[in-house]
Each structure stands twice: as structure tokens, then as C-alpha cells.
Symmetry: C2
Subunit: 378 residues, 2 copies
């Protein structure tokens, strides 16, 4: 017997309804039967994105949706701002550079959030900046960006605001329209409680204006084709049918709970996790601007961070994430996102305590679990 517990920042565990939906006999995508499903999914995504504009569903991972944002908005030689506060912010720069775009990079110390004033400064210094590429939740550090403030900094300029909300959408608040996010991209395997394989992208009228004149080559990720197809409840290419059927199930659950309740649940789980880590005497990597989707914890001195994560996973079946890139071995990332409830958090902390004890770290057994319980009891 081997039971797996998943506490990683994507994929997150799947509700049984979502698992079951994928297993249904497949239907053809050019039928009224599938059109009804696609319509339900697209409408539901507007609710999740908090937008009145279309949300396009792509057969790709979230990175594909990021590429769609870049290649549809820009022309070679354009100048954009990219915010690098971790591995996923760096991805914006990588994609933009691959397409011959000049990047004015705002480097933010890992573990900190960007100061919206930095963005304002860049936009004032160069009115030709076409777009600002940011990250809602930087999964590599656990930090959440204040997108509302960033939106204010971008709103009255000619630039459009692009937000990578792959990690965070449907788990923490992101008011696409109200906060002035022109393009928001996301993926299926995070707050949406689905397997990976779907990318999402919303587009504001201001962004459509840029798209009209953008000259970068594109075909698979061409948003004009996606818009035209969706107008007749269709997709330009074969959609990932079973994942979209599953998306409808996830959306049913999310709409029943409501975004407010979902965000509150994530906040409580994050608070409990942070309290537990501190009770265990461990430091948080991002004590300020911590996101409610994943908590990065500094590996205590004398403990092998990679071995900790591996032992939890391979010996006990509890998967959390290690540090990425420059944080490898230095932090571990304990996620509390998606189809996760308080007792999953307790289970995860309990396993963490067990392995830390076995590795010789000094603390009172049960103190992390108790600290989390106290938060949940409130």
C-alpha cells in the first residue's frame, strides 16, 4: 500500500468529480454537445477571471498562454518591461527576448515583491513601452504581487498590463477588469484543480488594439483566430476535450463555493502553514508579501533541504516542492492551493515534523501541527 499526498504548487490534487469527468467516453468537438460544454467552460472562466471579456482556452500548458500574450501583442524591436522577482518572471524576459523584443528588466530580490513605483518610473522614462509583464504569484519564492497597485501605475499610460496568473488564479483575488489587467494568462493545474494541459488567456479592448498592429509571427497561438472561432463557440484547432469537460466540473464546484469563500479558505490554510513553520522555529523566505498559495520556508542550518523533500516524498508519499534555481536546497515550498483542505495541511505538517525529527532537527514534536490547529480553530 502506498498513499500519495500532494502539496505542490501545481499540479494540485483533483476533486473526484474532475477525475471522473476525464474518464467519460469522449465526444467529438464539432458537435452541439461539445459546443454546450465549451460555452459553459468559457462563461465560467469569465467568472474566475472576474472579467466581462472573452477568455480563450488553449491546448497548451501555461507557458504556451504566456507565449500567446507576447506574440500577439508585440512586434520585433518593441520595448517592454518585465518584472523578474523569481523564475517565472524571468520566463517573461526569456520569451520576449526569443522574439526579438527589448526588455527593460526590473530585477527584484528573490523573496520580495516589485514596488509599483519602479514600474511607474520605467513607464515615465520611456513612453514607448508597449507592455508590462508581471506575475501574480511567483511560485519560485511564494511572493504575491500587488497587482491592484501595478494596475494603477499602468492604467493611464499607453502600455498594457500583462499578468501571469498561472499560479494564483482561483486561489487568491485577481480582479482582471477592475484592476486594469489587459491580458491575464493562466493554466489548469493550480487553483482550478485540473490536470495540466490547458492554458487560458483574457484580453481587454486596450490589448486588442495592440494586437491589431502587432507583427510577430504566430499561428497556433493566434488570438485573432481564437476570437473568431469562439464567436461561433468553436476553437481554431482541436481542443483538449477531456480536460475541458473536466473544467466544467471544477467550475461547478468553484461557483457553488464562490470566489470569496475560496480565497478565504486559501488564506486560512496559508496562515496555518506559516504559523506552523514559525512554531517549528523555521524562517519564512518571504515574510512580507507572502502569497496564500504556496509558502517558501528556509531550510534550517544543518538540514539537507533536498533530502528532506525526497524523504517526505519517496518514504512517506507526501510531495512538497524543493527550491528552484538559486534556491535549490535552500528552501522548501509547501503549497496550500486547489483541492486542499485544512486536514491535508495538518497531514503535511505532521510528515514534515516526522522527517525533520529523523534528520536531527531540534524542536518539540507536535508544535507545528498544534500551531496550525489553533489557526484553523479560530
Amino acid at each position: 500500500m502506498r498513499k500519495n499526498y500532494l502539496l505542490t504548487p501545481g499540479p494540485t490534487p483533483l476533486p473526484p468529480e474532475v477525475c471522473e469527468a476525464q474518464a467519460r467516453p469522449i465526444i467529438h468537438h464539432r458537435t452541439p454537445q461539445f459546443q454546450a460544454i465549451l460555452k459553459e467552460a468559457s462563461e465560467g472562466m469569465k467568472y474566475i477571471f472576474q472579467t466581462s471579456h472573452d477568455v480563450y482556452i488553449l491546448a497548451s500548458s501555461g507557458t504556451g498562454a504566456m507565449e500567446a500574450a507576447v506574440v500577439n501583442l508585440c512586434s520585433a524591436g518593441d520595448t517592454v518591461v518585465t518584472v523578474e522577482a523569481g523564475k517565472f518572471g524571468e520566463r517573461w524576459t526569456e520569451i520576449a527576448k526569443a522574439y526579438g523584443i527589448n526588455c527593460e528588466v526590473i530585477k527584484v530580490e528573490w523573496g520580495k515583491a516589485v514596488d509599483p513605483k519602479e514600474i511607474e518610473k520605467k513607464l515615465k522614462a520611456n513612453p514607448k513601452i508597449k507592455a508590462v509583464f508581471t506575475t501574480l504569484c511567483e511560485t519560485s519564492t511564494g511572493v504575491a504581487t500587488d497587482i491592484e497597485a501595478v494596475g494603477k501605475a499602468v492604467k493611464d499610460t499607453d502600455a498594457v498590463l500583462v499578468v501571469d496568473a498561472i499560479s494564483g488564479l482561483g486561489a487568491i483575488d485577481l480582479k482582471t477588469d477592475a484592476w486594469g489587467c489587459d491580458i491575464v494568462v493562466s493554466g489548469s493545474q493550480k487553483g482550478l484543480m485540473l490536470p495540466p494541459g490547458l492554458g487560458f488567456i483574457s484580453v481587454s479592448p486596450k490589448a486588442w488594439q495592440k494586437i491589431e498592429s502587432a507583427k510577430l509571427p504566430r499561428y497556433y497561438f493566434d488570438l485573432k483566430a481564437a476570437k473568431k472561432a469562439l464567436a461561433s463557440t468553436d476553437t481554431p484547432f482541436t481542443p483538449a476535450i477531456t480536460l475541458i469537460v473536466a473544467l466544467c466540473e471544477a467550475l461547478k464546484i468553484m461557483r457553488q463555493d464562490g470566489l470569496e469563500k475560496i480565497f478565504a479558505r486559501h488564506k486560512k490554510m496559508a496562515d496555518a502553514t506559516r504559523a506552523a513553520m514559525q512554531a517549528l522555529g523555521m524562517g519564512l523566505f518571504a515574510p512580507t508579501a507572502a502569497s496564500d498559495v504556496v509558502t517558501a520556508v528556509i531550510v534550517p542550518a544543518g538540514i539537507d533541504g533536498e533530502k528532506l523533500v525526497k524523504t517526505m516524498r519517496d518514504t512517506y508519499g507526501v510531495t512538497i516542492a524543493g527550491g528552484q534555481a538559486e534556491l535549490k536546497g535552500k528552501v522548501f515550498r509547501f503549497a496550500h492551493m486547489g483541492f486542499i483542505e485544512e486536514f491535508d495541511i495538518i497531514a503535511g505538517i505532521s510528515c514534515l515534523e516526522k522527517v525533520l525529527k529523523q534528520m536531527g532537527y531540534k524542536f518539540e514534536l507536535g508544535s507545528g501541527v498544534k500551531a496550525a490547529q489553533e489557526v484553523f480553530l479560530k
Copy 2:
């Protein structure tokens, strides 16, 4: 009660093992557990592709894999040959043109296959041609290309041969290495008996040489990144986990049967379908070069082709495909590919007969079914 029967050229019905595999609790992709699955899937795809070279698994539909072929091989201003014998051949031209590539188009009458001599002529006339883009099975017309002969025409030139085998791979023979196919692309929802959402691409050493110097911008579909990742049993971006888990199940079934037996089954189903249509007095749209994956049938005079397909689907739950683009209403396409057995063919023909009778078409009820039965009895 409503029972659905799927006889379309993608998606095809799914084996129960494939359905079930998707519904399993999801695992994280950066774990030894998933690496074992990815390895099994990649190795299995070499068997299906009949290649000794790597096959990369992309999170995209087949069109994404087509785009990967174009953007990795070419630079803007390159000249290539595209073979247009239907809607999917035209897609090669569309993608190439979107990326600023000059296309020497070989237009083939719909319903016919390309004459490999035409390709030879083009290559002789212009030794700078970088690649020849063809289609194994043109789903829109039901025609199969003689890829072996095309391979001979391309082999000793500087050009590489690219084959869209989205429709056909794992259903009809395609010897990637032996026939000199440098890049073969495919998708999951056809012969592989999976839902859509995975793209596949194999690359020969000759193609890698071109890729080294190709300058088109790319990121999500960058094959160098895919190669580097696969060398450590990884993917550059989050893979479509549940679909890859399901792929392993489909591969188990396919390896147990063996390609030879699978191809023989498809041939028998195609023969039976063609015999049935002719017994019903209907003409085949592609009497020569017909593929064994889908049969395009000319709608009899006086019968509304679109209504025929809709009635079969919406009244009786039997989904076949109508004609695409210029063939809309003029043909219907009856697929016999993937998880389909002789009795599914009989069921489909029986429904076709019922609706044809109701629409006033004159023929002897049961004559199509009987003709198919005779083929199957042999």
C-alpha cells in the same frame, strides 16, 4: 437513455483502460514516479513511429507539433515545398507563410494523392529548397500519400522531409527511419486512441542539422529545449500529466497487438466500409489512394449531406464527419480508426442505411451491412 457511437477521424473512441488512467489521482511531474512514466511513453512512441530517434511529447494539439516542425527547421525567407491535397496540406502552407517562408505549393486535386515525381521536379529545379511538407493521410479527403516514394524523392537532396502523420500514425504503416522521414508529427486523438491534447514530433539527425542554424523565433515549441530536457527524462514545461499516463495504457495495448496486426485490422475495416458504400450504390470520393483510416463517400444526388450527418448524430447518437471546406455537404467521412472493431463498423453502416432510407434514398435495406459482413467473414 442515449448511447453514443463515434466513427469520426479524431477523436476516436477511447479504450476503457485509457479512460480509467486519466481518472487516477494525479502525481507531480518532477518526481521519479512520473519520470518512469515519461520514459515508458517516450520509448513506446519510438516503436509507434518506427524510429530509433527521440520522439518529443508536447502539450498541444497536432497543429502545435506542425508549428514546432516549421519554426525549428526554418528561417524567414527560406523556401520550402508544401503539398496541398486537402485542408491539412493547406495548413502547412498557412503556418509557413505566417512565419515568412516562401512556399512552392504543389496543388493536388482533392481526392488524389501527390505524384512523388512532382516533388522530385521541384527539388531539382531549386536546390535551395529546405524542406518538403507532406501529409500521411489527408483527413479531409480520405487519401493516403505514398510516403515511401516521397522519401525516395527527397532522400538524396539537401531538403528534409516533414510528414504530418496526425491522422494515420498507429493505424497505417509509416516507417519513419526506413522511408527517410526527417520529421514526423502526430497527435493523440487518432490512431493512438487518446483524447486530444498531446502533440508528438520525431527528429532525424539530418533535421537536427537544419535546426542548428534555423533562425525563426520560438520558445514553447523549441525542440532544442525539448531535447535537452528529455536527456534527463524531463520536459521543458509542465507536461499534460494525465494524458501521458493514459498514453502509457494505449501503448501497452498497441504493443501487445503489434503494429502489423493493427494495420491489418484497419485495412479490413476500410475494405468493409468501402464495400458497404459501393453496395449501397454510393461512390467513393477517393477510389484510388484511399487511406485505411477514413473513407470519404460522395453524397448521393438528391440527399442533403449535412442533414444526413446531423440526423445520424442528433437522432441516433452515431457520429460520423461531414465534408470540410469545399467538400461541405458533398461528402461524408466514415472513419475506421483507433479503438474501433468490425462490429462498430456494422453498427455505423446500419445507422447510415436507416437514415438514408428515411431520407428517401433507394437501395435494398441491409445490403451495405451484408457487404461489410462478407469482408469481415473472409
